[in-house]
Symmetry: C2
Subunit: 256 residues, 2 copies
DNA sequence: CGAAAAGTTGATTGTCTTCAAAACTGGTGG
DNA sequence: CCACCAGTTTTGAAGACAATCAACTTTTCG
């Protein structure tokens, strides 16, 4: 084992200009979704100067792991990740699924080391955003500073939503909310709003939703029986969005 | 109703220097816990210049509410707050309990309006930190910039912990984790590490922990029967911390 | 192709919720 | 000062939902 732990499972960092074509935020097709949102062309060029490396992460391998030193945020270029935390006793909880344009690694800032694992669910690629340099630049570029704050605040708000889901919803509602959130984000990225390929297992969905994998499977089957979905393993077609949305509205006994 | 919604339920903002004694971060006893952490004396003085108002919030009244425009973060000086989110159908979920030195309002940054309610559980007082001025100053004071990032990152990590709790723990474990977290934070503020007065109802604890109030009450009773706690309504004495900690370790069927 | 991983489905169990009633607390007004 | 009342808490009994245990099928990947 002569390689660093980080390098063991993924391809070596590659300079961006490798292929001759300059790969930078300025001409990235995720411009509208990712870090450069709200920045002027000039400001994006400055952002380009600090994003000097990308990393390819193979399926099932970690982008980072709990306990590793924090030094960068990562903007996902392609692929999907899951993040998960682990209790002392080994239980773990998937805290999110991230896709193109989304930022992972924010957990590492507070104690200068990561407190969750980020694992690629398919072969993926990320842009490395060295955090100290982001900090420096955001002192000069107000729009970047504000965008960074918004990214962090958005994550806090997202997690509030997950807490609501985990704290108050029943299995059917959780799965409906999960699917609706997923297609909504996929649609924003140009994919179908009715068809999706799940990149995660029933187990991982269950972990995220606070359910056992059998319950996830059964709930999929029930939705299919009722004609709301067509489910063929990882491939899900949403047949009746409206009814799926209504699953969220109808709770058994209101608390009020 | 000629008053602004904000002013209806709480005392008017008061200039800090009212009583002659200058009230500022520089001589605040929460210096070590709150916003000034890691700042030099000089930097704290600069921080003082932008913290010009405090607000007193009466028990059961809101510091802010969902939908209100965001313009400031709030550092809690005295008292305890709960934050909660509400679904379209009315269900709500307590997302946290905050005490002296902690910052609330981070949820408002992303969309420039608050997405949760912050309600005082007892008569409380907060320092108002106008967010645009925090932004300005943190461009000049690196330590403040980094501290702000850490505060937001810490909140993200805390919420990961809550997700783990809600997604994987049983009622006893949830309540044990809740109590241990609470005394730990109280102890850091100079209170007893074995005795605590709950400022929230069983209902609110239940909402936070994803349990019904009856379950919370029953679990308290069980802990008391087993000699781990003494419970007299809101007053809780932790008799056997070790055993309370062990509740967290022992899960029924390990997933592994 | 074959082994391992992932997914489905059924029967049973357990934990928490729901529904209900009673006891306690703190604040208000007679 | 005490009675009263609303809000809170406790406790019991019954029911619901998801977990568990188990068997089997399907898919994936080396």
């Amino acid at each position: 084992m002569t390689t660093l732990p980080d390098a063991a499972n993924d391809c070596p960092p590659s300079p961006l200009s490798l292929a001759g074509m300059k790969v930078a935020c300025s001409n990235c097709n995720l411009r509208e979704l990712c870090m450069p949102v709200g920045l002027s062309d000039q400001e994006i060029e400055r952002l380009d100067t600090l994003i000097t490396t990308r990393r390819k992460i193979k399926r099932k391998t970690p982008l980072f792991r709990t306990g590793e030193k924090f030094h960068a945020l990562y903007a996902i270029r392609t692929g999907v990740f899951k993040t998960s935390v682990t209790a002392e006793d080994g239980r773990d909880q998937v805290t999110g699924f991230q896709m193109a344009g989304e930022i992972v690694g924010l957990d590492g800032i507070v104690n200068d080391q990561h407190t969750c694992d980020a694992i690629a669910l398919e072969d993926s690629e990320v842009c490395v955003l060295p955090f100290d340099r982001i900090g420096e630049l955001s002192r000069e570029v107000g729009a970047l500073q504000h965008h960074l704050h918004r990214v962090m605040s958005r994550e806090i708000v997202r997690e509030h939503g997950v807490m609501l889901l985990l704290g108050t919803m029943r299995a059917e509602e959780r799965l409906a909310a999960f699917l609706l959130n997923l297609v909504q984000r996929l649609q924003a990225r140009g994919f179908s709003r009715s068809e999706l390929v799940l990149r995660m297992t029933r187990q991982e969905i269950g972990s995220y939703l606070g359910l056992k994998l059998e319950t996830v499977s059964r709930t999929f089957s029930r939705f299919a029986e009722e004609g709301m979905l067509e489910v063929h393993q990882r491939l899900v077609r949403i047949v009746d969005v409206e009814r799926l949305r209504k699953v969220l509205a109808q709770q058994p006994g209101s608390t009020f």
